[in-house]
């Protein structure tokens, strides 16, 4: 598989058919991927438009469904927030395909590390066994684990539009039009089903905040309760009601798990030494393991790694780092996505019918590009592809110019003290919700490896 070109395209073709590539090709692919990833900072800069995806977990056919629903690479830019492997039957094919796409179109696809991208976890949750089964040795597993160590820990999306250009697709069945915002409203959230039909639409600062999405099948997930109308005085984040101001959204931090008590600025993430197995504790571990929860401050995580963190922590972190939103994955959400803490953080889950058992739907989050953002720079398309480099945005300087000074705890506590409003309007968010790939195309092995239920 010499650099880029047609060998890579052949490998992509083969993997798209869910057929593993030979061991020596995997070795080469992983080598190339490492060369590419080593150039990325711990926090990768990414420009909108981009489609943000959560856990995949080896559900290859559902990953194909995701590409069908969200658009193919390289036409759509993707950011995958980790947990490519384990649990599903096709971790190998899923991860290698994503890796091939990364090497082929480095500036079209971003992969960050999940807690399952680790030697220890993959030996318990299936990826190791799968490699052994498919290649007869652990070599491929070892190559992949070496790549895991180089994956970035987070991504910072900038240039996202504050309001959505509404989809003019048809309405989904059962959509209740009474709750729909006016056509000239500033659309903050739109939810579409796998056919692109509109399930739900929500206007920013709308008076109809009571218009919780009754008609939305996902309505049991608390979607976007009441975004605050006005940011704290002096932050310049006062938003206009009708979407005339479009470029005031802060950046969006993407990370697999969540925050860490050891990390109060994004710059601190940048300083970590990430090129190692995921440690059992410490900042790097927390970023991959933590969960938001309805608590105040920090709490112990029942997972035995990482922490729980409450709304105050998120709001403070977002304010301090000039973020409008944290997007993360890591937790199964039956409705595919779940916004929490007045939409300051969202969980995106992209493995439908998780483990072929949970019955959940999946979602991906599309962030549009902000047309009026002067700083927006179109990415090169990856067509000259293959070769390393390729990042137009430097990985280490993206959008940090507005940040409040490092580690300023006085500032932090004063924020906590008086005003916990959001400082930034969230980006316009389009969720595409989809179900598991149809049974017949899933190609489940005839013999399931383990008992799935208690019998």
């Amino acid at each position: 598989m010499s650099s880029g070109g047609c060998d890579l395209d052949k490998a992509i073709q083969q993997l798209r058919a869910c057929r593993p590539i030979p061991e020596n090709q995997v070795r080469e692919l992983c080598h190339k991927a490492r060369e590419l990833l080593i150039e990325e900072g711990n926090v990768v800069g990414v420009d909108a438009p981009v489609t943000i995806c959560g856990d995949i977990h080896g559900q290859f056919h559902d990953l194909m469904e995701l590409f069908r629903v969200g658009g193919d690479v390289p036409d759509t830019n993707y950011l995958f927030m980790g947990d490519f492997v384990d649990r599903g039957f096709y971790s190998l094919e899923s991860f290698l395909l994503l890796l091939c796409l990364k090497v082929r179109y480095p500036d079209r696809i971003t992969l960050i590390r999940g807690n399952h991208e680790s030697r220890q976890i993959t030996t318990v949750y299936g990826f190791y066994d799968e490699c052994l089964r498919k290649y007869g040795s652990a070599n491929v597993w070892r190559y992949c684990c070496e790549v895991f160590d180089y994956l970035a820990l987070g991504a910072l999306v900038s240039g996202a539009a504050t309001s959505l250009v509404p989809t003019d697709g048809p309405m989904a069945e059962n959509t209740n039009l009474d709750n729909f915002p006016d056509s000239d409203a500033d659309i903050e959230i739109e939810t579409l089903n796998a056919n692109g039909e509109i399930m739900y639409r929500y206007a920013r600062n709308s008076d109809s905040q009571s218009s919780q999405p009754n008609s939305n099948p996902a309505s049991s997930s608390p979607i976007a309760p009441t975004p605050s109308r006005v940011g704290p005085a002096g932050t310049g984040a006062t938003s206009s009601a009708n979407g005339s101001v479009k470029n005031d959204t802060g950046a969006i931090l993407c990370v697999h798990g969540g925050l860490s008590p050891l990390i109060d600025t994004i710059d601190k993430i940048r300083l970590l030494d990430r090129k190692q197995e995921v440690p059992h504790e410490g900042a790097m571990c927390d970023l991959l393991w933590s969960d938001p929860d309805e608590i105040e401050g920090w709490g112990l995580s029942p997972r035995g790694a990482g922490f729980l963190f409450g709304a105050d922590i998120v709001k403070c972190f977002n304010y301090k780092n000039d973020l409008s939103l944290i997007a993360r994955a890591h937790q199964l959400v039956m409705e595919g996505f779940k916004e929490m803490f007045e939409s300051t953080i969202v969980t995106v889950w992209s493995a439908p019918n998780y483990c072929y058992r949970c019955g959940n739907v999946a979602a991906i989050l599309e962030l549009g590009e902000d047309g009026s953002n002067a700083g927006y720079q179109r990415r090169s398309n990856g067509d000259q592809g293959g070769g390393g480099g390729g990042w137009i945005l430097g990985s280490n300087d993206g959008s940090s110019s507005n940040m409040v000074g490092n580690g300023n705890d006085r500032r932090l506590s004063s924020v906590l003290g008086d005003n916990m409003q959001r400082t930034r309007d969230g980006p316009g968010r389009r969720y595409r919700v989809f179900e598991a790939a149809p049974q017949d195309s899933r190609g489940m092995p005839a013999k399931k490896p383990v008992a799935d239920y208690f019998l």
């Binding site: 035995g304 199964l332 058992r357 949970c358 383990v450 008992a451 239920y453 208690f454």
Partner: protein, 372 residues
């Protein structure tokens, strides 16, 4: 794992009750195309669930969740390590039932009886003998002949098991003939029969005799993933045979059920469809979808002194001590917490009893257990 083995013809013969004749079914060229054929295949799938349960038990034991030296002696398949969340669930299942049984054993010093419905390869009898060597216990297990034969073969093969068949009154274990499907003694009894034959049928009121069932001993009926495979009216009828014919009033009787709940949400619907691809069907799951339905069902059976329910997620939270939780949590890294909660919420333990009230053995044993 299932459905691929050759169906047991005895069941086919045993379940003839009208419908299309076998001749016609054969004529159409399909085993499985007749009503009997389909039913036989379903029974086959249900019988095979026992090795799933055995395998889950072995996985739990090997990883230190449960202490059970007998589990692996009954497993016919090589031990495969189950996922951490399945081990956790099996742990909660076994330890919750153990907890209820222990309280019964300790409630009074008198002799007691336990009847395990669809016992499969359950090891509870052997563990109880170790734990309560002096207690007078009459233990019964009921299962299909294929399963009881396999169990008795394992017992005969392993002295650790065989030696447990003795009691003070009968110190020498009976030698079992090869291919035995039943075993009877004053402490341990294995009955080979289809539970459906215990459903009191209106026409012929002849129930099979169950040797050594003592109609006077306080009796615990146990259905750990067994009655769920039968239609709800059949289950009612089987239980009324026990409660009225085999162990009539005023003998204290109780029932412990372990089975799935919540068939109508996304997880439940997926469970039903996944299991049906293995030809496993859970009729009572649909009949008693919620915890409250399980409670009402116990009352309907006549368990008026107590009828309680708890899902296994709440049992893990409320019944397991903090110390034990810590021990169990340290056994394996468990990442899939949301999924675990989802899974555990879909299984419940229900326990109900009939006795004389405040001085009754079950009231004493179970009155202060937290339900959900």
């Amino acid at each position: 794992m299932s459905g691929q083995e050759i169906p047991d013809l005895r069941t086919l013969l045993g379940s003839r009750r009208g419908g299309p004749s076998r001749g016609r079914a054969r004529g159409r060229g399909g085993f499985g195309s007749s009503h009997e054929g389909r039913e036989a295949l379903k029974d086959e799938a249900v019988r095979n669930t026992d090795q799933d349960a055995a395998g889950s038990r072995v996985s739990c034991v090997e990883l230190g969740y449960l202490h059970d030296p007998y589990a692996k002696l009954f497993a016919t398949q090589p031990a495969t390590r189950r996922l951490p969340l399945l081990n956790r669930g099996s742990y909660v299942r076994t330890s919750a039932i153990d907890d209820l049984v222990d309280r019964f054993m300790n409630a009074s010093t008198g002799p007691k009886q336990i009847i395990s419905l669809g016992a499969g390869t359950d090891t509870r009898y052997f563990r109880l003998r170790d734990r309560y060597p002096d207690l007078q216990l009459v233990y019964h297990e009921i299962d299909f002949a294929t399963n009881t034969a396999a169990k008795l073969t394992s017992i005969q093969r392993h002295p650790q098991l065989h030696s447990k068949l003795t009691s003070r009154s009968a110190p020498n274990p009976l030698a079992l003939p090869p291919a035995a499907t039943t075993y009877h003694s004053s402490t341990y009894n294995v009955h080979a029969l289809d539970l459906r034959t215990l459903a009191a049928s209106s026409e012929e009121n002849t129930l099979p005799t169950l040797p050594n069932i003592d109609p006077t001993l306080p009796t615990l009926l146990l259905s750990e993933m067994c009655l769920v495979y039968l239609p709800a009216p059949t289950v009612s009828s089987i239980l009324s045979s026990f409660l009225q014919k085999y162990i009539p009033e005023p003998t204290p009787v109780s029932l412990i059920l372990y089975e799935p709940i919540l068939p109508n949400d996304a997880f439940g619907r997926t469970m039903i469809s996944n299991l049906s691809t293995r030809n496993i069907h859970l009729p009572t799951l649909l009949a008693y979808p919620e915890l409250s339905d399980q409670r009402a069902r116990l009352q309907q059976y006549g368990f008026h002194q107590g009828a309680h329910v708890a899902d296994t997620a709440s049992i893990w939270r409320a019944w397991v001590t903090d110390e034990e939780k810590e021990r169990v949590a340290a056994l394996e890294m468990l990442d899939e917490l949301e999924e675990l909660d989802l899974l555990l919420r879909h299984y419940c333990v229900a326990w109900g009893w009939r006795d004389s009230g405040s001085e009754g053995v079950f009231t004493k044993a179970w009155a202060d257990i937290k339900e959900q």
